[in-house]
């Protein structure tokens, strides 16, 4: 079938293991078919793409006319970035958030004056992009200029994106260019004290990604075969979440939401929510955090260390010795998938611990401070209490036996009222890992993208009435 002549979009993901394709019908927002080929990023991406297209053609019995061909890439470890700022909690943190929001893999964050040791570390990290921030506009210029001078001599291929004090921008750019670095100057990530302005930096990162990284990874050898829109896969996921939350001009979205993505090495959390901040740095409306120490396979031991073996064993209904043995089995074989009931129970407990800690780190906190006039509450970070929807994705949720139980670990805990996590959201699962596809399609075909996303999220909210399913039907219709 070729979709009966319905105009279609081809979505491509150049991953580090597979080249994945999906054909989506633009009127119905349904998946017409999927195809998969090997990842050939190391040699010629065209080969993987050809194989995947052949696979798709076999499934569909012919290829439809594609109106859009959109690609994302998570290949070769993703977009490796190093950020440099001034004060760790201020411009350094703002730079970090901009990099994560752009879908980068943050490999190093630096603050204050860079030393020779820092420079050596940055060179060893070999980032694809360096993000240089520091100083509010008209504020401290000295440190960002010092850091520009240090970086000017860096043996790093990637360009420097300058997003620091506007007053020092020209001088910093000149210094960096005279050292042979390529420089992109954009607006300050923190133009005024505690004012966050990360969109221009995000846009600059994406521009560099398209210009340089796509070229460096050889993806431009297939460039004639897809449209210019190309983004890092995590950025596509964030865009997908944003569309699902906000809807389009003609269809309402789901409202404020949270996405939890449990992977083998990291757990990513995205929130599309206003939140309320009473103290500290404002939060981006679309915020992404990556917990590099919480992963179901490569970092299973780190999850146990954090959550405690006793607690994880109790949650899994296993004894500690058995948990230790299962952990060893995973460490010995990170490709291992759960088979026995014990393994399933253990994976469920691991995933719950990862979700609980990842969301707690993403969400804001409120604490009671004792003052001489009595207790006062101090809130920091994003209040996600009113978030209406939590979407889960990643292997442990998509293929696990109890996705609702795992995702419920993201919710507010009556025993820990200081953590501002969602209170009573509905729980949805993105079983087919479609959020990135929704994000890719969000710009050229927002209505089809929203339909696609809404139609493929399954509601796992533990409740007796069919309320959520009913609401969803209204959105789709």
């Amino acid at each position: 079938m070729t979709g009966g002549g319905e105009p279609a979009a081809l979505l491509i993901d150049f991953g580090s293991t597979y080249t994945k394709l999906r054909a989506v019908g633009l009127e119905t927002g349904t998946i017409l078919g999927a195809g998969q080929g090997p990842s050939t990023v190391a040699t010629d991406v065209n080969r993987g793409l050809d194989a995947a297209l052949k696979d798709l053609e076999a499934h569909l019995g012919g290829l439809p006319e594609f109106r859009h061909r959109l690609a994302s890439s998570s290949a070769a470890g993703g977009l490796r970035m190093v950020t440099v700022g001034l004060v760790r909690e201020l411009t350094a943190e703002a730079a970090r958030r901009a990099a994560l929001g752009a879908g980068a893999k943050l490999v190093g964050t630096f603050a204050y004056r860079l030393t020779r040791a820092d420079l050596a570390e940055i060179e060893a990290l070999a980032p694809d992009i360096l993000l240089l921030a520091g100083g509010t506009d008209g504020g401290n210029a000295e440190v960002v200029l010092h850091n520009a001078r240090v970086l000017a001599g860096a043996a790093v291929d990637g360009p420097v994106i300058y997003t620091g004090n506007r007053a020092a921008a020209d001088e910093a750019a000149d210094v960096l260019r005279s050292g042979g670095e390529s420089v992109v100057v954009t607006e300050n990530v923190m133009p005024e004290f505690n004012v966050l302005n990360i969109e221009p930096a995000r846009a600059a990162i994406r521009g560099v990604f398209i210009d340089r990284i796509v070229h460096a990874k050889g993806i431009d050898r297939a460039a004639g075969r897809f449209d210019a829109v190309m983004m890092p896969t995590p950025a596509a996921v964030l865009e997908g979440a944003r569309l699902l939350a906000q809807g389009t001009a003609t269809q309402p979205g789901l409202g404020e939401l949270l996405v939890v993505d449990i992977g083998g090495a990291t757990t990513d959390v995205h929130s599309i929510a206003e939140g309320v901040i009473l103290h500290g740095l404002p939060e981006p409306f679309a915020k992404r955090t990556v917990e590099g120490d919480l992963g179901m396979r490569h970092n299973a031991r780190a999850i146990i260390d954090l959550a405690g073996a006793t607690a994880v064993a109790a949650d899994a209904g296993l004894d500690e010795a058995r948990v230790g043995a299962l952990l060893d089995a995973i460490a010995a074989d990170v490709e291992r998938l759960p088979e026995t009931p014990d393994e399933h129970a253990f994976d469920r407990a691991l995933a719950r611990a990862a979700v609980r800690h990842a969301v707690a780190r993403h969400a804001g906190t409120v604490k009671v401070v004792q003052t001489v006039t009595g207790p006062a509450t101090l809130q920091e970070g994003k209040d996600l209490g009113r978030v209406e929807t939590v979407i889960g994705t990643g292997g442990a949720l998509a293929h696990g036996q109890d996705p609702a139980g795992v995702l419920a670990a993201a919710l507010a805990d009556p025993a820990d009222t200081g953590s501002l996590r969602p209170k009573r959201p509905r729980l949805l699962i993105d079983r087919e890992y479609l959020l990135y596809a929704v994000g890719l399609l969000a710009e050229p075909a927002p209505d089809a993208a929203l339909k696609l996303g809404l139609a493929h999220l399954s509601d796992v909210t533990p409740q007796t009435t069919g309320e959520a399913a009913h609401e969803r039907a209204i959105h789709v219709g």
Binding site: G138, G139, N140, V369
Partner: protein, 156 residues
Amino acid sequence: MTKAQATPGYDRSAKTLVTGVIGADTHIVGNRILSMALEKEGFKIVTLGALTPADEFVKAAIETAADGIMVSSLYGQGELDCRGFRDLCVEAGLEDILIYVGGNLVVGRQDWADVERRFLDMGFDRAFPPGTRTDDVVRALDADFAERERRSAKAS
């Protein structure tokens, strides 16, 4: 109310001041009035608000390259909260930053001259008793900044 000098002999808009209420103190009103008054007189103001730990004043001052920090304390524990404030500034490379403190700095009825001396000994450039008018603060800032300009002009 006496008006602060209109032509202070230096550019107020080139001076950035960080304001906030230190420690576990929620009394924001006086600090807000001071911030608004200073802004109206032409200074660039960075407001941190209530419940501000000492290190946050310093961090904000670094990032904004501030020229002065105005610390308020109204709940009687100012002496504890402000201990080591100058050291923090020195540690962060802000040796020469102007620091003022004001409010109900101590509990009970104590001789102001004695209280003032204790805060000056801690490294504050000036300390202000309860009931200080904003104009007095502006005059003090004008005198201190003008003096600093003269000193740096002489040095160069």
